[in-house]
Symmetry: C2
Subunit: 191 residues, 2 copies
């Protein structure tokens, strides 16, 4: 018999991020995460396949949000502004997770296995964005380039937003993304 | 006593690419590669740390070429044209390796471990390009964005150049990179 635990996923995530930060990712076990959250290992495995999944379970939703954002973007936008609109939509969902994202960022940066997984996540997102652009009639190489450049913007903006250095501390992720899209346009300006 | 073998590295690389293509990367051993090349395993390990290294030994030279290309680029270029100049220089070195690159591309795409390693390689190159741009006085986020966007161009152009579909078959890598830089500018044009 399973007892329902209020917000078990959120408690497990918080406990995992605390332990990964305190002891390191490699040194933390699922049993310790469940214990810190006051839950059982069995409950942990109802929400996450393994301890890495705690850091990546949001990617599927992020991808769906971005793909839907591209499909729903107004007609007549340039490819990069289409991607920018989708990124802005995703940014709103992430905004309340800034402190969690900051902690996650530090943990991922410290562990080679997690850095690799993060690169795979970003490459998968770029491929999904390119497909979504093609469905809007954007041809290659424009679709691939806009998608890859868009993910570059997302990566750079996300790091600034979640970064510890206080740079951009007063700005929302959506604002930083808008600035980064403008910076990309300036960087790539013909001339 | 070691006998000198003419072009041992090149023979080992050819043998490895043949075997990876015929049997798959995972199913090929170092002993088989050495045997196909008419060399010993001991000779193999004088050139490569392991069988994966055969597919990635060029990354260090590619990185040095790109970083030097950014340092040597004419003054007054925009960040993206600075990166474009460096990519064009690297493209000349790769041009004679088109058939090898095509084979390598197919092998990497077929093996998750190699796809991950390729993503790490591209991320490492992007970080090196961004550093080289900062040394020229380009500030962030422009340096990071130009480097990441430049690597997106390289990835898309390289795939087209090395691709099997015949698209761009009559063009050099340098030409395809120049076209892709132009496409990026068009994709990212303000408007």
């Amino acid at each position: 018999m399973t007892r329902w635990e209020p917000n078990a996923r959120g408690r497990l995530e918080l406990a995992a991020l605390e332990l990964y930060s305190e002891r390191g990712y490699d040194q933390t076990t699922v049993a310790e995460i469940a214990g810190r959250a006051g839950l059982t290992e069995r409950t942990f495995f109802r929400y996450f396949a393994d301890k890495r999944e705690v850091l990546f379970y949001g990617s599927g939703m992020l991808q769906d949000t971005l793909v839907q954002g591209i499909a729903d973007a107004p007609d007549g936008l340039s490819p990069i502004d289409t991607v920018g609109t989708a990124l802005a939509g995703a940014a709103e969902l992430l905004e309340e997770r800034r402190e969690l994202s900051r902690q996650r960022q530090v943990i991922v940066a410290a562990t080679p296995e997690l850095r690799e997984r993060e690169l795979i996540k970003l490459a998968t997102l770029a491929a999904a964005l390119a497909d979504a652009l093609r469905k809007r009639g954007v041809t290659d190489p424009a679709a691939s380039l806009a998608a890859e450049a868009g993910m570059a913007v997302f990566k750079v903006a996300f790091q600034r937003w979640a970064g510890q250095d206080g740079d951009g501390a007063g700005q929302t992720l959506a604002q930083i993304i808008a600035e980064s899209i403008a910076a990309l346009k300036s960087v790539a300006a013909a001339g």
